[in-house]
């Protein structure tokens, strides 16, 4: 954010350097081939220009060796690019363990953020420098896309499911936040800023806010929606006990199994009949329309904070 004619974006995350290096490499390859082709075309077109009106070109039909050459060399280059690009991508896709988890919800036309300790912001995101941050992103209405150019990171916010982004900001400062997927009238107004702070400043900022932590809000919602009547250790076994479920492998009634990630937890609340846990009846009603996307994220945060079920052998989830 600054000069009048920037030609290259600021790089402010650990991943940005990897992306830029790859980008420069592809730019170099492209420049080489563009200049090569342009030079050949122009020099041929000048050197072999027509001198007599009835002149014809030389009868050259082709060359297998040349065809192979210009098939195999580009193929090898693109394979290198694929591997390098995949490597950079996989690093960007997989958040490291122990990342600080922040929940983001997109709706027309704003970004709502919940920090674990209860701070909330709209169209801003405060994060400490030098820490792995994991964003879990949902959408309340249409598809949006959470895009931070300075971090070279982007992921769509898709209604009906949760998506994930992670980054590690390197430089304190303010950076653009854009919605990159067209989402209606004020799409270009769905922007904001990422504020990267020194860890100490961030602690100060956090303590300035307050309110209930996300999981505490989730606990309250858990009670308000009467989830606790079925899903806690002392609630009679009508539904699976939820402590320790997140991240575990859940056996389903149809014989298959599934890893209980955030999307599984989300689906189990919104469409409980989709995956029935082995040993339970399909009794749970849907909470579609009864709980907002933010509420869902709070519930998930709460479920994740529950201690593992003490003695139960049942490791089911959600219903």
């Amino acid at each position: 954010m600054g000069s009048t004619l920037p030609l290259f974006p600021e790089a402010a995350s650990t991943q940005a350097g990897n992306v830029d290096l790859l980008y420069f490499f592809v730019v170099a390859v492209s420049a080489f081939f563009s200049v090569l082709i342009a030079a050949l075309v122009i020099s041929f077109a000048v050197k072999f220009r027509r001198r007599q009106p009835d002149e014809v070109g030389a009868p050259i039909t082709g060359s297998l060796a040349l065809e192979l050459l210009w098939t195999i060399i580009p193929l090898m280059i693109t394979m290198v690019l694929f591997v390098w690009g995949a490597w950079v991508f996989l690093d960007m896709a997989r958040p490291p363990r122990g990342s600080m988890e922040i929940y983001v919800v997109g709706k027309q036309w704003m970004w709502k953020v919940q920090h674990p300790d209860g701070q909330r912001e709209i169209n801003e995101l405060h994060v400490p420098a030098g820490r792995n941050i994991r964003l879990t992103i949902g959408s309340e209405d249409v598809i949006h896309s959470y895009y931070i150019p300075a971090f070279r990171q982007k992921i769509d916010a898709v209604p009906g499911k949760l998506t994930t982004m992670w980054f590690n900001a390197t430089k304190p400062g303010e950076y653009h936040l854009f919605c990159a997927e067209y989402c209606g009238t004020k799409h270009s107004g769905m922007i904001g800023k990422i504020v990267v702070m020194e860890p100490d400043d961030f602690e100060n900022w956090l303590s300035g806010g307050g309110g209930m932590s996300t999981s505490a809000s989730g606990e309250k919602l858990f009670a308000d929606l009467a989830c606790n009547t079925c899903h806690l250790e002392n609630s009679g076994g009508r539904g699976p006990v939820l402590g320790g479920v997140p991240g575990s492998l859940v056996q389903l009634a149809d014989g298959s199994s599934v890893i209980a990630d955030d999307n599984y937890l989300r689906e189990s609340i919104m469409n409980p009949q989709a995956k029935i846990v082995a040993g339970y009846q399909p009794l749970m009603p849907t909470f579609q329309g009864l709980v907002t996307e933010e509420g869902l994220l709070q519930l998930i945060s709460y479920i994740k904070s529950l201690p593992p079920a003490s003695s139960q052998t049942s490791n089911g989830a959600g219903h």
Binding site: A93, R94, P95, K161, T163, T164, I259, D261
Partner: protein, 109 residues
Amino acid sequence: MAEHAHDPHAAHGHIAPISMYLGVFAILMVGTAITVGIAYIDLGFMNTAMALAIAVTKATFVVLYFMHVRWASRLTWVVIAASIFWLLLMFFIGMTDYMSRDWMGVPGR
């Protein structure tokens, strides 16, 4: 086109006996009956597989005999094969996404 020796007056085409049409008709009827019957037996995932296998068989008979493809040019065979190939390509690649969505264990990746 050179493979056909034309009689310039008659449009060419295989004329099959009525008994063949009736035979194919009987196969289709029996196939329908089997499809319904088999649906009531619990075969696990084989239920769907069997239903589709019977449907494919029935469709093959219709294509080969009612639609005269058995006697049609190689080009017709190529056209049909291409349509099946592209259809399966769309199903296969489309479903590969749905089947592999949970593999990474990162929501939305």
